[in-house]
Amino acid sequence: MSSSKSVSKPAIEVQNLTVSYGPVPALLDVSLAIPAGKLVGVIGPNGSGKSTLIKAILGFVKPDIGSVKILGEDVARVKGRVAYVPQRGSVDWDFPITVREVALMGRYGSKRWWQDMSKNDYALADRALQQVRMSEFSRRQIGQLSGGQQQRVFMARALAQDADILLLDEPFAGVDAATEGAILNVLTEARQKGKTMVVVHHDLETACEYFDLLILLKQRMFAFGSPEQVLEPELLSDVYEGKLRVFEALTNHTLEEVLQKGRLPGKEDGRSPE
């Protein structure tokens, strides 16, 4: 189980965060504190600001107002404590770069600009590739991989960075069931080592199985808590509006059934039974 050395300090603390790209804010007055060592899912419809929240926690987008603190320190001052796995669609897969070079990027943060990458950095990158079973592809250009393999390369980059906090933007989108399982394994292993993870997720049906805590987002934060608290039919129909019915039709389950399923015994994934 995760160590409880720093229970007092949340891993990520977001206070009254508002971010906008134009006249309409993408995030409005979002406040939350994510405890260390938790696997947290972010759910919400398309365009609800999930990626924006991730980018704000990484310090890439500047808030209009509000603050983000990483392990108690202002995000602008922390460097490299947060690793990032981008959304597949936002990566240029034709970029002239190999699998190994991407993994090596995980080590960039540990070097000043005049320092060269050391043997040790290469070794760490290679080990991370081994962990996600991508070693044999290390010389491939990243466009010449399957969707699941591409996802694993960026997982390796995050592992090589050895950060305490991992942010993943839709890692399960468009991967096959086997890869989904493999990624989930890496995540639960990382949690056992006490890492904090925030994962953008699109599938409500699995959201209740995978995560310790859920954030329900649509510009504002609608709910933050255990899956049981967040996946309330009323809340969800507020946030997803008409789209929920489509979702029900697609999965052939009613929302109640899905929620029921999430609570079934025997679906434990290492969570403590309290």
Partner: protein, 507 residues
């Protein structure tokens, strides 16, 4: 040393242009790599077009304020300023109006270029300005002087130093700016640095190729290198080499033809790019075409597996296989080699056998074929067309497609010719959870959950059941419980009972 002296005597006037051209081509190509990866070609174009106005502005300012003639520094600064204003205006127009970027670019470039041309052509101002418009447009590398030599040297040294020192930062901000920001790389500062580099190389490149063509010096060699290499550091070195090579080739081509070097350099660059496009070893059209020609169509491989499976012998002579397939022999042979390499076939002498994996794949295809046949039959396709049509359609055999058809057809057991359709063994793996409508007669399974309340008293999670026969033309299912009772189910009810298989072979 003799030939060198001789060359110097005969061609001494060429040495300065060649040195300047080599340096500038190198700097342009190196920066070009980042320009094309960040999709910023328009930036170099904007700066080039704005130069005329900038140079004229700088010229006039110095002349009118200080009474000095053409001052290189002022002209450079004017060009940079004008470039930045153009890029800013493009962004501004795109942001505040519904006009899209490509249109905004077209408007602003031409506008700012026209402003410069207007000032020069004016009688009152034009008398102060001694700029050769022709050379400004097509370049004038032949007449470079010492100051240009110095500028080219400094610019190139600066560019090479920046790229070598900040390679990681430039690479990461181009590839993943979000991560770059998170590890403390000053993303915005790097962007400005790159814009500054672009301005520098464009302004020095104009002397060689002119305002209209200078973009080609920046992006064409980089694009050729992009097609040739899979790693950024190699791409940069290659771009520099290609840029320099094209400069020399174009320069001497012009010399031989008695033409202006600017256009000729760009022509060689474009020619080289087109050649790369066709002949590049990995991303070239030729390789692509060859690969497609040599690729074994999936259909033929599927036909081979199907032919062996249908023959119902263990070892099948290759000639028999070939006879059953409507395709040319070499293609079938290549398909067979591929299948052996994929571990789907074994070969002994002139005979072939399915491996267990190959048998599985063959059965999956047979299932797809027979389900398509059943589907076509239900649609009212004439019996004599069934096989042919299904043979075409069976190559759409991904699991989702076949599962959809199977469910829609009510999980048929036999095809229209009366042959058994293999069961859905892909989904129906041991321990994976499926709907009981997939359970064939004689298969054992354990109930996982029952979503139909009317059945919950008779079928309980954890109970073992045996698949019973279908009745009423296959539209009623039956499950036999451990105490021997038979539970009859409709299709929907069978779909509501989730089971997992407990034995791999029917009891």
């Amino acid at each position: 040393m003799d030939w060198l002296t001789e060359f110097h005597l005969a061609n001494g006037h060429l040495i300065k242009p060649l040195v300047v051209g080599t340096l500038v081509s190198l700097a342009c190509s190196v920066v070009g790599c980042f320009i094309i990866l960040r999709r910023l070609s328009f930036l170099s174009d904007a700066i080039a077009h704005a130069m005329l106005a900038g140079v004229v502005g700088g010229y006039l300012l110095m002349k009118l304020l200080f009474g000095t003639e053409a001052h290189v520094g002022a002209m450079l600064l004017g060009a940079l300023l004008a470039g930045v204003v153009t890029v800013g205006m493009v962004g501004f127009v795109t942001r505040v109006s519904r006009v899209k970027q490509d249109t905004a670019i077209g408007i602003m470039y031409t506008g700012i270029f026209a402003l410069g041309a207007f000032a020069i052509s004016m009688k009152s101002l034009g008398q102060y300005i001694h700029i050769d418009i022709y050379h400004f447009i097509v370049g004038s590398v032949i007449s470079v002087g010492n100051s240009e030599l110095w500028i080219a040297g400094l610019v190139t040294a600066f560019i090479v130093a920046v790229v070598m020192m900040f390679f990681r930062q430039l690479q990461l901000t181009s590839f993943d700016p979000v991560m770059a920001a998170s590890i403390g790389v000053p993303v915005v500062a790097v962007d400005y640095l790159l814009t500054a580099c672009t301005s520098l190389v464009v302004v020095s490149g104009v002397r060689i190729a002119g305002v209209i063509l200078v973009v080609a010096l920046v992006i064409t060699p980089a694009a050729s290198a992009y097609l040739l290499f899979d790693r950024l550091n190699r791409m940069i070195v290659a771009a520099a080499a290609i840029g320099i090579g094209c400069f020399w080739a174009g320069f001497f081509l012009a010399h031989a033809a008695g033409a202006s070097p600017g256009p000729s350099i760009v022509i060689t660059g474009t020619g080289f790019f087109l050649a790369t496009l066709v002949f590049a070893p990995k991303y070239g059209l030729l390789v692509d075409w060859n690969r497609r020609r040599r690729a074994v169509p999936q259909e033929i491989k599927e036909d081979v597996l199907g032919a062996i499976l249908r023959s119902e012998q263990e070892w099948v002579p290759i000639n028999d296989v070939v006879r059953h397939i409507a395709s040319n022999k070499p293609k079938i042979r290549r398909a067979i080699i591929h299948l052996i390499r994929q571990d789907l076939l074994d070969q002994k002498g002139t005979e072939l056998r399915l491996t267990s994996q190959g048998r599985r794949e063959g059965r999956r295809l047979l299932r797809a074929h027979r389900i398509w046949e059943t589907y076509l039959d239900r649609m009212g396709t004439p019996a004599n067309e069934l096989h042919g049509q299904a043979h075409k359609l069976e190559h759409m055999n991904d699991e989702q497609t076949i599962d959809y058809l199977d469910d829609k057809l009510g999980h048929p057991l036999k095809d229209p010719h009366g042959s058994t359709i293999p069961e859905d063994f892909v989904d129906f793996e041991e321990l994976s959870e499926v709907r009981s409508s997939l359970l064939r007669e004689g298969f054992r399974a354990e109930i996982v959950r029952v979503e139909d309340v009317t059945l919950q008293d008779r079928l309980r999670p954890g109970a073992k059941v045996l698949g019973g026969p279908r009745s009423a033309d296959g539209i009623r299912w039956s499950l036999i419980t451990e105490d021997g009772a038979t539970v009859e189910l409709s299709h929907d009810q069978a779909d509501a009972v989730f089971v997992h298989r407990v034995e791999s072979e029917p009891a």
